[in-house]
Amino acid sequence: MNIIITGLITGSMLALLAISFSLIFGVARIVNIAHTAFYMVAAYCIFSLTGKFGLNPIAGMMIAVVVVTVLGLLAYKFLIDPIREHEAAVLIATIALAMIFQEAVMLIYTGDYRTVSALIEGYFIVTGVKVFYQQVLTFGVVLVVLALLWFLLMKTKLGLAIRSTAEDREVANLMGMNDSRLAMITMGISVALAGFTGAVLAPLTVLSPFMWMEPLIIMMAVVVLGGLGSIKGSFVAAFILGFTEALVVFMIPKGAFLKGSVALTIMILVLLLRPEGLFGISFEEER
């Protein structure tokens, strides 16, 4: 039971992170290493807003998401956009951005571990296992957001344009879709989702300035397993890795130390055996 709960929650979190990471990669070929750093910033925002300023947690979450989105758009406009066509430069710039966030958080909040109080306290017991209401809430909210995202992508004109641009930027241009504007919008959505993940995860985890590194690696493993740029792949792979992680942590003594290496092992195996991932698209050469 513990495994199922942890697996579901980790899986849904990873799904959100990986899908939002995939989105901006698909549309603009931007590998955003700072993706999980935005998630960390959101978590710390909530810590400040609810702790120091005593704001209502839900208002805190909303403000955190907005703050992170604005930060993301600014970073895109001034840092990423000018070098967007240079993949290596984007990679380096976003690593730098992540470090900046890390050090800024370190300066403001010091390296101490922090916690954020749960939205709702209490738990109920299923088959002898404690299930916190906060866990159920987090899982539910994440599912709702995933459903909204699906609706946005599959049922709206903006989603159609995002999917078209992700698949063939040049042809999308021929249909009147402005690829730079779409890249900007997608960056906003992607970072907002990262911020949202940080916001809903904050009460369930411990905050530290280095909390972006581990999810980054696992998220990369998810994206590789699911196939770069494939949303469906990211979704499925997130739950596979979420459950694998939970299994390792609960079944193997001291397994918690192994979870990172399990993710990496999966990533390496996928790259060796099936580089395009579960649902990967083999990219057509751009002319």
Partner: protein, 249 residues
């Protein structure tokens, strides 16, 4: 004149793809651009639809080489050579690209709707969609299918249908017959004539000269980025040298 290209020159690094090319297309015509591989036919279409300029911008940003583009393109009385590709579509110059390039992961219906991206009024897109279904009944049958699973002929129909959804005044079609069986080529060309009869001007790039000459009003023969001859199919075929050297007939 609906489209007027004057002194168009395109160079990729040192390679001259188009050299001082001028041509025009009048409203309602079906004009073909023929010539051997590498003559610059596709580049001409890419240049007028704004893709060469778009590519130049990307190359500049990624510092991976330069493209030189010069000359004027006038469409419907307005100069469009400085306008970005996604704005040119809005004015009614639509390109159906080489190798069809459907969005392979999307359904046939989504592909067609992507073509109507600029149409703000869903009712109008619906009407255009009905027209496309009337032209290509096979697309209606296949509408929920993933585009990548269609046959080559169907993908070509889809590409033309998708371009049609953008409500073109001038529809540029790049090599629609590539990789198709003779019977399917015939069918595709019949559809193109049909679209032309609906009042849509067509600029067609082709290698399949024998079929094209039968249906187009005028033709330009392109070689090494230059126009070397123009006229009706009959006139061009009568020229012995031209026929043997460039048209392969």
């Amino acid at each position: 004149m609906l489209l007027e290209i004057a002194h168009l020159t395109v160079r990729y690094e040192k390679a001259v793809l188009i050299n001082d090319l001028s041509l025009c297309v009048d409203t309602g015509e079906l004009v073909s651009l023929v010539g051997p591989n590498g003559a610059g036919k596709s580049t001409t279409l890419r240049a007028i639809s704004g893709l060469v300029a778009w590519e130049r911008e990307i190359k500049r940003r990624s510092t991976s080489g330069d493209i030189f583009l010069e000359g004027t393109v006038t469409f419907n009385g307005e100069r469009i050579d400085q306008i970005p590709a996604h704005e040119i579509v809005r004015r009614g110059l639509v390109l159906c690209p080489e190798r069809r390039r459907p969005f392979r992961e999307m359904t046939v219906l989504d592909n067609l709707l992507a073509g109507a991206y600029l149409q703000k009024d869903p009712k109008k897109s619906r009407e255009t969609l009905d027209k496309v279904y009337e032209l290509f009944p096979v697309l209606k049958q296949r509408s929920p299918q993933i585009a990548g699973t269609l046959s080559g002929g169907e993908q070509q129909m889809l590409a033309i249908g998708r371009a049609f959804m953008s409500e073109p005044k001038l529809l540029c079609i790049d090599e629609p017959s590539t990789g198709l069986a003779p019977r399917l080529r015939q069918e595709v060309f019949e559809k193109i004539s049909e679209i032309n009869r609906l009042g849509i001007t067509i600029l067609l790039v082709e290698q399949e000269v024998s079929l094209v000459f039968k249906m187009s009003c005028r033709n330009y023969v392109l070689s090494s980025g230059k126009i070397i001859a123009q006229g009706t199919g009959q006139q061009l075929i009568e020229d012995e040298v031209l026929r043997k050297t460039y048209l392969g007939l």
